[in-house]
């Protein structure tokens, strides 16, 4: 499919070919699924909702529940108030969630629907059942990316639900960022292992990684409860993971409830996990337990064992900014050379951040935010790499480049399953990444090397 790509790269202003991002609403829908008993609602045409649900289902292999305002031509001219009112009435009468988390779409944004006003009317008309909550995030598809949408919905949780009672509690707040459920679970395990008391939201573990039960649950048992999110206003601090996905909510919480926040990278790789563990340790005012130190030691042991295969290997990386930055840090820690680094999400801070990590040795690297996979492919053609890391869509490039070793990482992964259950964050997650990278490199060698170089022991 990509056989016609050449090494000639031209800047494109008007055209996106094979994107490395998608639109805001899906991120908002995903974040909303991290609230317990919450039904995400898409205020727009019904295709948006169907697409998001299908896409999330392909990634998680789990049912994804969400409703839509089912916009018609009429609604797109006269506004979506009637659709919203009917939708909310139906949702509360039949699906009975605790929270309806509404996100907008490009359509409802452009026609200028005022969601707070719609909520107000719904409430004043006495239609909102007692104890139920409505929250909303503006998620225009023509700004930012799915990561922006996730950040906006997380911020909406703070804006609508967090409250300050005046009494600061002994818990801090953890904002995990756009992580898979398995990663959220691992973040919690590490923090709990250090002995921290915390509230995490959104939390999609036990929502989108549930066991087979023989039952269909509209609202699985996981997710942060409204009460937990409300209490975040009384937390003594917030630890936000990821500048793009989590900092806006942390800022909002500081602004609204005066909860100070600390920002660290997603705990991907050694250094970033160290920073996370250290931040949790300081917040919890405790020591890092031996068990976690052992995991760290095992990771370093694995890194040493495999370093001979990884040193100076050239890598192309693409994905979401909060993921790619610590991943690049990790690749550098492994002695590898990230030479092309791309995110589809716009934001110059990404480029600055990655450049810093690469240092003078990586001055020649291509680093670009707001870029797509055609550019990445062209750069790979011009300056080949040994390894590609990115979401499922990287497989086209890997195939076109003579089965380039390819490690799937990020969102979405539509054709493999490990991400559903096994984390890539924390020391253990980093071990999985090292294993994945070395497997990919050695598998290619085993498949393609001449018979005399085919070795039993590596």
């Amino acid at each position: 499919m990509l056989n016609s790509t050449t090494s000639h790269h031209t800047e494109r202003q008007a055209l996106r070919v094979n994107p490395a991002k998608t639109c805001q609403p899906i991120g908002a829908m995903y974040a909303a699924l991290g609230i317990h008993n919450c039904l995400p609602h898409s205020h727009g045409s019904q295709g948006c909702c169907a697409y998001h649900r299908s896409h999330l289902t392909r990634h998680f292999k789990e049912p994804v529940m969400a409703t839509t305002s089912s916009f018609t031509e009429g609604a797109s001219v006269f506004g979506g108030l009637a659709n919203m009112t009917q939708a909310l009435t139906n949702i509360f009468s039949i699906y009975q969630p605790d929270v309806v988390a509404v996100h907008t779409t490009c359509l409802s944004e452009v026609i200028g629907d005022d969601l707070p006003m719609m909520f107000k009317k719904f409430r004043e008309d006495g239609k909102l059942p007692p104890g139920k909550h409505l929250i909303h995030a503006n998620t225009p598809s023509f700004q930012g990316s799915h990561i922006t949408g996730f950040a906006n919905m997380t911020t909406a949780m703070v804006r609508y639900l967090c409250e300050k009672s005046g009494e600061v509690c002994d818990r801090f707040n953890l904002l995990p960022g756009y992580l898979d459920p398995a990663d959220m679970r691992e973040v919690k395990r590490l923090a709990a292992g250090i002995g921290a008391r915390f509230v995490m939201f959104p939390d999609t573990s036990d929502v989108l990684d549930g066991p087979q039960t023989g039952r269909f649950q509209m609202y699985p048992q996981g997710g942060a409860t409204v009460e937990e999110i409300r209490s975040a206003g009384d937390g003594f601090a917030t630890l936000a993971l990821g500048f793009w996905a989590s900092e806006p909510a942390a800022k909002e919480l500081e602004h609204k409830c005066e909860v100070p926040y600390e920002l660290v990278e997603l705990p991907i790789g050694l250094g970033a996990t160290d920073a996370f563990v250290d931040a949790v340790r300081r917040l919890a005012a405790t020591e890092v337990p031996g068990e976690i130190e052992r995991e760290r030691g095992q990771l370093i042991d694995l890194m040493s064992d495999m370093s001979q295969y990884l040193h100076e290997k050239r890598v192309a990386v693409f994905g979401d900014p909060d993921h790619v930055i610590p991943l690049v840090r990790f690749l550098v820690e492994l002695g590898m050379r990230p030479v092309h680094v791309v995110t589809g999400t716009p934001g110059k801070a990404f480029e600055t951040n990655v450049r810093q990590l690469l240092g003078p040795a990586g001055a020649a690297a291509k680093v670009r935010a707001g870029e797509d996979l055609l550019s990445l492919h062209q750069w790979i053609k011009a300056e080949p790499v040994d390894l590609l890391i990115g979401n499922t869509y990287g497989k086209y490039i890997a195939r076109a480049e003579d089965n380039l070793p390819f490690v799937r990482f990020g969102f979405p992964i539509l054709d493999r399953v490990a991400h559903r259950l096994f984390p890539t964050v924390g020391y253990r997650g980093a071990m999985r990444l090292v294993a994945g990278i070395t497997d990919a490199l050695l598998d290619k060698k085993d498949r393609e090397c001449p018979e005399e170089f085919f070795e039993l022991v590596q």
């Binding site: 202003q13 998608t22 009917q86 009468s93």
Partner: protein, 474 residues
Amino acid sequence: MIQVLEQRRAQIHRKGETATPLRCDRRSVAGSVTQRACAFCGSRVVLYPIADALHLVHGPIGCAAYNWDIRGALSSGPQLHRNSFSTDLQEMEVIYGGERKLKQALEELIDRYRPKAAFVYSTCIVGVIGDDVEAVCRQVARAKGIDVIPVASEGFRGTKKTGYQAACEAAFKLVGTGDTTGIGACSVNILGDFNIAGESWIIRRYFEEAGMEVVATITGDGRVDDLRRCHGARLNLVQCSGSMTHLAKLLETAHGIPMRRVSFFGLEDTAAALYEAANFFNDSAVLERTRDLVGREVGRVYPALKKYREALAGKRAALYVGGAFKAFSLVKALKLLGMTTVLAGTQTGSPEDYELLREICDDGTVIVDDSNPVELAKFILELDVDLFIGGVKERPIAYKLGVGFCDHNHERKIPLAGFEGMLHFAREVHATVLSPVWQFVPRRSRRSSASTPSREIISPSKNPAAVEERKGLA
């Protein structure tokens, strides 16, 4: 009866209990977890298999991202259609208009890929900001010397059905612009097969073997030049009636080509489709070759179905699919496997479709229009089904309930069309219904397992989850 949204009651029937016609063809109720998509989605799925055309999505990135190569519509040649091209509209264009960006994107793409034609899909936002997409298309077409065809596929225009119509209108703009010399008397177009897993190739092979020329498969493994000359065919065979009837009607009106609704799913329907065409041409050689082909294929496949039929006899199936014609074929094919259809639903059936569906189903079969996961899950449990047939959003629901699943939508990986497709279907249904996995599902492990010895590998009493479940019920 299970609890359903009040407004949806008339959209659900149980055969033998309800006499009034099923209410359908309605917009989804706002606030329901509908499984339906939008007009844009409908247009994309219909046109995208045209492999040597350019498909440019004019809108924000999401619309281009979510349907990027998600349907296995195979091409025997160009793979251009599998890329994702979009104008990735940003706030500035939303304010000042996206026409300039669209023009630039089109020119760049046409220069880079030299496609045979280009389709430009409008998304919701384009309809609202008022870009004159037609004018841009006309301009670029003139400058580049290829057809650049706008598709009026704004999502809010309606369900997929609306989008199908827009796609047919767009495709029809190519029809009649090619040379039809050399097209024989016994020639057909096959409409509404999208070459998922290579199904168009199977169907084409049958027709060619029977001595009938296939001028165009629309749009499976589609080519622009085939569309240009498809008006030279003498008969249109329409498979996915929901998506392609409109194009067939346009062809009938403009070029006098008669149409027949057919299905290539199941032995009975595949044979009927071939005979339908052969009888139409009334050519004794073609008829004889068709008879030979059908005889040979049925003779080959039917005995091979026996072992599946024995294993599947009496099993209960639920199906929820896009269009009604597929539902008819599935009910028949399941019957051939000895199975009973206890639930049949579609996203876009018409009143006539549901009447016909009611006729071919047994008493007690639940018939439903535009359903949602909560309903479907409750039906699966209430009707105690062994197999669910649906699409991507239904698969994990079936699995969560511990029920076998068969994708009869665009994510199927093996061809289910034609005679050999029936064998594939039987194999797939057998594999999923009798998978040993279901014995580990608490709910299923309580069921009598007499007919499926494999379920006794772990007896319910030794299955801790089942014990828990029983305690919970006690």
